[in-house]
């Protein structure tokens, strides 16, 4: 594996970026996600009003892939309806599971997050990439 395909500029920037790494005052949904094997541990908070994700953020710690993935998800899903968000999450998970491989389609729906497609070839990092997405899915579905 070529490291330059994994540690791309986009991933490194999202990993260092702290915009989305914060707590949300008055959040409506919150969930903690954990990868016991490598120690990634993140908490997703969302403020959902009238079925729309008004604000989304995360806290915690983890490897660059888990942090960048959480940051990209936050950018992508803020402002979406819960329904849209759940659909996009499924498409992201489908990409990682290699069920969806059309890169044009993935780029259109997932924007920057489509860059994580290559993770599907790295079993050791799959859990890191999907952690935030699974956690948000659980957060919104739990309250239904």
């Amino acid at each position: 594996m070529d490291l330059s395909n994994l540690y791309t500029q986009v991933i490194l920037e999202h990993n260092k970026d702290t915009r989305n790494r914060r707590e949300i005052e008055g959040y409506t949904h919150k969930e903690r996600g954990h990868n016991p094997s490598c120690g990634d541990d993140i908490t997703i908070e969302a403020k959902i009003e009238d079925g729309i994700i008004r604000d989304l953020a995360y806290t915690g710690h983890g490897c660059s892939i888990s942090q960048a993935s959480a940051s990209m998800m936050t950018d992508l899903l803020t402002g979406k309806t819960v329904e849209e968000a759940l659909e996009i999450i499924e498409i992201f998970l489908g990409m990682i599971k290699r069920e969806i491989s059309d890169i044009d389609y993935l780029e259109e729906v997932l924007d920057e997050a489509s860059i994580l497609q290559g993770i599907s070839n790295l079993p050791a990092r799959v859990k890191c990439a999907v952690l935030a997405w699974h956690t948000l899915k659980e957060a919104v579905q739990k309250e239904d």
Binding site: M1, L3, L6, Y7, L12, N15, K16, S37, C38, G39, D40, D41, H61, G62, C63, S64, I65, Q67, A124, R125, C128
Partner: protein
């Protein structure tokens, strides 16, 4: 000097186009050719089910199996082979003591004392036994350097019925004052279990001299195959303990309603054991004797000193554990500033360097030391200074890949 690396065929291969550098012996050690040959020889010449038949192969298997028991006895200085129980690994040995001894003897208000540095195997087990019996679990804490201050031993008091302590921490690398822990335990009438998983491949251990009640270790961290561990127990204690697992070979007479159990050590070895693994353990002991603990100690300390010195040159490295060689083994945990250990190990792997990342089965310890996860390099006597140079030089690469300045 002989190149011991050549004894380990697995090291003679490349990872990502580079000669493999194995710095994870604390997780599992590699197997020398001598151990692999012994297993092959057993399967070519002697495989049968021990203790169960009077044909040639069953007798050869019995002999091979029981010879290893004697080797283990002599290796750790036990008084007799009745005190040597084969298990699957150190974890199972601890659980055997937990279920067959502790569960029977603990009452509400009793105390179990362990250290914060225990591997989950020697921590979760006692935490759960405490919950089941109403006993209190009390922790002895390490100092900021990762050593156990003797003052903590005062927590072992009259209420204490059992003390469980690691001989050497798999995270910190510190060697604990187990002789004093055992002495203190016995002063208050407690039984003392020592987890020797990280110790036995690196230093001579004498259970009679230590005077502990139980000593456990795994074969696969001392150059044998996986699937074999050892429980040493003081004969008079084992004698009074109930069996842990029921089944074949651990019985004497079986009737429809009643069973009488076999004598020690067979009482604790239900079912057909992992005989190849046991055979490999015997060969591993021979191998360690051949290399000698003097040489192992000398080489490993030389490597550890060199690695500590080189790592300390890097301003972005924080070592989790003692920074000098005083009561310390060849395990070095560290944090790379701003880089998660999972990224550290992945990038190092790209350069052929294998280190462990994560919480190392010691979550409470890492929480106490205020690190979430860390990287760990652990050395065996066959490692070289060049390999440590590769580790250190490629840590600069780790920083560079993650977009930080290296020095």
């Amino acid at each position: 000097m002989r190149d011991f690396r050549e004894d380990f065929p697995i090291l003679n291969q490349e990872v990502n186009g580079r000669k493999i550098i194995y710095l994870d012996s604390a997780a599992t050690s590699q197997r020398p050719q001598q151990v692999l040959d012994a297993v092959m020889k057993y399967d070519h010449e002697a495989n049968g089910n021990p203790h169960r038949g009077s044909h040639a192969l069953s007798m050869r298997a019995t002999e091979a199996f029981e010879n290893v028991r004697e080797k283990v006895r002599s290796f750790i200085g036990a008084r007799c082979t009745k005190e040597i129980i084969f298990t699957k690994n150190a974890t199972e040995a601890i659980n055997l003591v937990a279920y067959s001894y502790a569960l029977e003897h603990m009452k509400p208000g009793d105390q179990i004392v362990i250290t914060i540095a225990e591997h989950h195997a020697n921590l979760v087990t006692w935490q759960q036994i405490a919950k089941k019996t109403g006993a209190h679990l009390v922790y002895m804490y390490v100092d900021p350097e990762g050593r156990l201050p003797l003052g903590e031993l005062q927590k072992i008091d009259q209420k204490t019925k059992l003390v469980a302590c690691t001989h050497m921490s798999n995270v910190l690398g510190s060697i604990f004052p187990v002789d004093k822990v055992i002495q203190r335990g016995h002063e208050v009438g407690a039984k003392v279990l020592i987890d020797g998983a990280q110790a036995v491949a690196h230093m001579p251990v004498d259970v009679a001299e230590l005077d502990c009640d139980f000593y456990v270790f795994s074969g696969h961290k001392m150059y044998s195959l996986t699937g074999v561990g050892v429980l040493y127990g003081r004969e008079e204690i084992l004698e009074k303990m109930e069996p842990f697992l029921y089944g074949g070979d651990m019985i004497e007479y079986v009737y429809e309603e009643e069973t009488s159990f076999n004598e020690l050590p067979f009482k604790f070895e239900a079912g057909t054991q992992g005989i190849e693994s046991v055979v490999s353990l015997g060969a591993a002991i021979d191998y360690l004797h051949e290399v000698t603990f003097e040489l192992i100690h000398e080489k490993e300390m030389e490597l550890t000193e060199y690695a500590l010195r080189r790592l300390e040159e890097l301003p972005y490295i924080r070592i989790v554990g003692p920074k000098d060689l005083n009561h310390r083994g060849a395990v070095i945990s560290f944090v790379v500033e701003d880089v998660h250990p999972h990224d550290v190990s992945m990038i190092l792997d790209n350069y052929g360097v294998g280190v462990r990342a994560g919480h190392h089965c010691a979550q409470p310890l890492l929480r106490f030391m205020e690190v979430y996860t860390c990287s760990r390099a652990s050395f065996a006597f066959f490692n070289t200074k060049e390999e440590i140079d590769a580790l250190v030089d490629n840590l600069n690469e780790v920083r560079r890949w993650m977009g930080y300045g290296s020095k």
